[in-house]
Symmetry: C2
Subunit: 379 residues, 2 copies
């Protein structure tokens, strides 16, 4: 088991009817003027916006609002929001939404104190401070509500890059699973696939991190079983709640203990894919890439793939891959790049885009040949 450090100071407030607690939490931290950052407006129809603004007013917290964060959030929108935040002199940020909104809020929080956020993304400058961050989660998927990382897209350069800093752990995140009752089915599935992918990015790194592997298998099995239940009944509270908490644990550090930070080749590949095709949902892209990656890696590193198939109730990797893709089909999710409307003659351009990343993968540093093989397996 590899050495590790673990630190995660985010306070989680989880459960039914707890969104109204957010104002008190912000007040307890002495923040007085907050930027409320949100997406396309769904929180105005499901009552979340009203609960939050009532709680802010009750606790005498001033707020200004910025709307319009989209999936695969852009550097341009982030920079616009940074200007807005400076103009209104806020002392903190409240992100209300899913991973895209929370990731944008993190980018704004750190960019608020920088001349050029993209230099930070390129690891050319370091962050010394960031605006304190609060979140109210509306879609369980990315785990951003309890970690210090984020991903944004530079539309000009078509680069979807990740960044992070210990300064960016949210102070408090509220997760009310019942507000996810009304999520469209594909978003529920994509959230589950994103969470599964986060766990799998860690899983194969070290077979001696037994505690972590056993927890990871438990989490993936739970996620699959909860998504199955939600296919039957989208308003199954216990399934929403257990899926939500599993998705948070999938990327709050616990699922990757002793795994040297994880592999992340599949995320890199998917980021290149959705940088070129911003309409591809992150979870759906990962659902296509991950089985292909496993198919490719299992022959190169058989010792690392000696028990993952237990998750699928199988006794070998080939049967498990079939089960995994069958589960995707049962959920109505794409299983191949062609299902995502990628043309075969685009694969070269996609491989070019992937190769722009300085490093692809951790336990195997991929060459262009590796990438091409995986793309063909995924096609």
């Amino acid at each position: 088991m590899n050495n590790f450090s673990f630190y995660n100071p985010t306070k989680i407030i989880f459960g039914k009817n707890r969104i109204t607690e957010i104002g008190k939490e912000i007040r307890n931290n002495n923040h007085k003027r907050i930027l409320l950052l949100a997406g396309q407006g769904s929180i105005k129809t499901n009552g979340v916006y009203d609960q939050i603004t009532a709680s802010l007013k009750e606790n005498k917290i001033d707020f200004v609002e910025m709307w319009g964060v989209q999936a695969n959030p852009t550097l341009e929108k982030v920079n616009e929001t940074i200007e807005f935040a400076r103009k209104h002199d806020v002392d903190s940020i409240l992100a209300v939404g899913g991973g895209s909104v929370i990731d944008s809020a993190k980018a704004v929080a750190v960019g608020f104190y920088l001349d050029d956020l993209w230099l930070f993304m390129q690891r050319k400058v370091q962050a010394k401070e960031a605006l304190p961050l609060y979140t109210v989660l509306t879609i369980s998927a990315t785990g951003s509500e309890m970690n210090s990382g984020f991903v944004i897209t530079n539309s000009k350069t078509q680069q979807k890059w990740g960044g992070g800093s210990p300064l960016l752990f949210p102070r408090v995140s509220v997760i009310d699973p019942s507000i996810q009752f009304s999520l469209p089915w594909d978003q529920t599935v994509n959230g589950g696939l994103d969470a599964i992918a986060h766990i799998l990015e860690y899983y194969f790194v070290d077979d001696k991190a037994i505690t972590t592997r056993e927890i990871d298998k438990a989490l993936i099995r739970t996620i699959i079983s909860m998504v199955d239940r939600l296919q039957e009944n989208p308003q199954d509270y216990s399934a929403r709640a257990n899926l939500a908490w599993s998705a948070t644990l999938a990327l709050n550090g616990i699922s990757g203990i002793g795994m040297n930070g994880g592999d992340w080749a599949c995320h890199t590949i998917e980021h290149a894919l959705s940088a070129l095709h911003p309409k591809i949902a992150h979870g759906a892209g990962l659902g296509v890439i991950f089985p292909a990656w496993i198919e490719y890696m299992v022959f190169k590193y058989p010792e690392k793939f000696s028990d993952w198939f237990e998750i699928w109730g199988e006794d070998n990797s080939i049967s498990a891959l079939i089960s995994m893709r069958n589960k995707l089909r049962d959920w109505g999710s794409p299983v191949a790049l062609r299902d995502l409307c990628i043309r075969k003659d685009e694969l070269d351009k996609i491989a070019d885009k992937i190769m722009e990343f300085p490093v692809i993968g951790s336990f195997s540093k991929f060459t262009r040949e590796d990438i091409e093989s995986i793309l063909i397996l995924a096609y």
Copy 2:
């Protein structure tokens, strides 16, 4: 799944050769004069003391030393240490040892600012501040290195009581599993049993907290399997490391998410037992009490006991209880109160002592009759 809040800001530094990092961590937090609290001196023979003091000196941190914390640590020793800490005007505490030393350090940290610590234990006064706390763990068992609770014994009144405060999360805890290579076998077993008991205190509360139950089963299975490996080879690093991390997770909040704080009847019973017989190791006592508690409860609440036996690879509770007690015997651990040299005519006095606690258990509030039945099953 019940609503919950989760907050745990302790930073964990885990792995081989990392004890020397403690000085830098303390310096980074601007603490300059620390109380080093330790037990009976084993850290002087295994090199831990030398590593720590070298690291403190290198980082220019003054320290004063207090030795002699014993198993089932006493209020008297804690009060003596509080006086010592005040006299030397320390600004923080470094606990080096197992649960007894860390629990004592927490009691000192909060008692430092109180007139009478026992009033705090009796919930008659509240704590507003506490000395910042660091730990270097030498025995994995209680999880105290990553939580905010502690247990001490008032020898005069023969009361072993627990306390806690969010102020008492250690800032940083260092866990180097390799320093546990030299632990006596019974301490390894008792540590594993303590960790298993912590998980079981939560497990039965809510069968809808599926994520937590699946993680809990994974943790208990891992603990059993790692203790088995250590019985073969006490210097198996991977087994020490996975046991250590599982024991931390067993009581850092993760194992009890959505479980309303847990049940804790077995801990209450064991605390009464070891208040009367301070030589009984906490883990060994729990190993005797828990199977008896399950034996008693399974008939009253069959729905809550519908899957725990999977941990033992069994399909019903009776077979699982047999497997559990057989495992205790394989490990050379007591399975009955008479193995702990309790006389049958003492059971009445033990029941009296248990009944002194204001509440015993959570999902079933025990009467004296319940307690007597469990003691007889445990005898």
